[in-house]
Amino acid sequence: MKTLALFVVVITGAMLIYAGHDLPAFGDINSPAYQAPMTQYFIEKSLPESGVPNIVTALLASYRGYDTLGETAVIFTAGMAVMLLLRRRET
């Protein structure tokens, strides 16, 4: 069983390293992320519109704020569910 697990891990790792060579180079101007139509908009407008210099945070908390509210609610719900299932009460 351990040999099988090691085999699976090694194969998956080798595939990931092989796939990693296909990623665009760091800062490549022809990368799909840079060519996407919204990229220029966010680079130019995220600071004046949201006031934060970090574009990732501007997207996470401002443009996709509704999504992040849902993520926080998911974490909260998970914590409450574990609390309901596992917490022992003094009886």
Binding site: P53, Y66, M83
Partner: protein
């Protein structure tokens, strides 16, 4: 008490390290707007500091730092801060979570920056409370540990 918990070196190092880990967590939360970081990461680091303390000094000591009722209050308070920020934007005539609609300061972008910071703090509070409550929920109660020893 296990052997690792009796070690003077580990107890001293943990006691010295915990405040610095907590300070670093606050830095990561507050630095989220201008660099790498944010509420999720900072909350997890803060939770890890309390979990480290509870692992070495025992669950009962850990619960003195972070009681179950405080945990519940913080977990819901963080989400409430976030949702209330969004609703406040509606009250001032914007859309849900449209931060720059709130007329607190003359510059709408600056209002947006501070409200994003507030939202990050809310996320951090929820995440740290949930992390700690998960750890306490899956850890065995002190009474069981002592019974197992006998």
């Amino acid at each position: 008490m296990s052997k690792i918990q009796e070690s003077v070196i580990i107890r001293t190092v943990v006691r010295i390290m915990v405040p610095f880990i907590e300070l670093f967590a606050l830095y990561v939360i507050m630095h989220g707007a201008s660099g790498p970081g944010g509420g999720f990461q900072g909350g997890v680091i803060f939770g890890a500091a309390i979990i480290l303390y509870a692992m070495i000094y025992g669950i009962a000591e850990g619960k003195k730092k972070m009681s179950d009722s405080l945990d519940r209050i913080l977990a819901s308070a963080g989400l409430t801060i976030y949702a209330a920020t969004g609703l406040a934007c509606i009250v001032f005539g914007g859309m849900f979570l449209q931060y720059n609609a709130v007329p607190l300061l003359s510059d709408p972008a600056l209002v947006s920056k501070y409200l994003i910071d507030l939202v990050e703090i809310g996320i951090g509070i929820t995440v740290l409370a949930v992390m700690i409550s998960l750890f306490f929920d899956v850890s065995p109660p002190e009474s069981d540990v002592e019974e197992a020893k006998e």
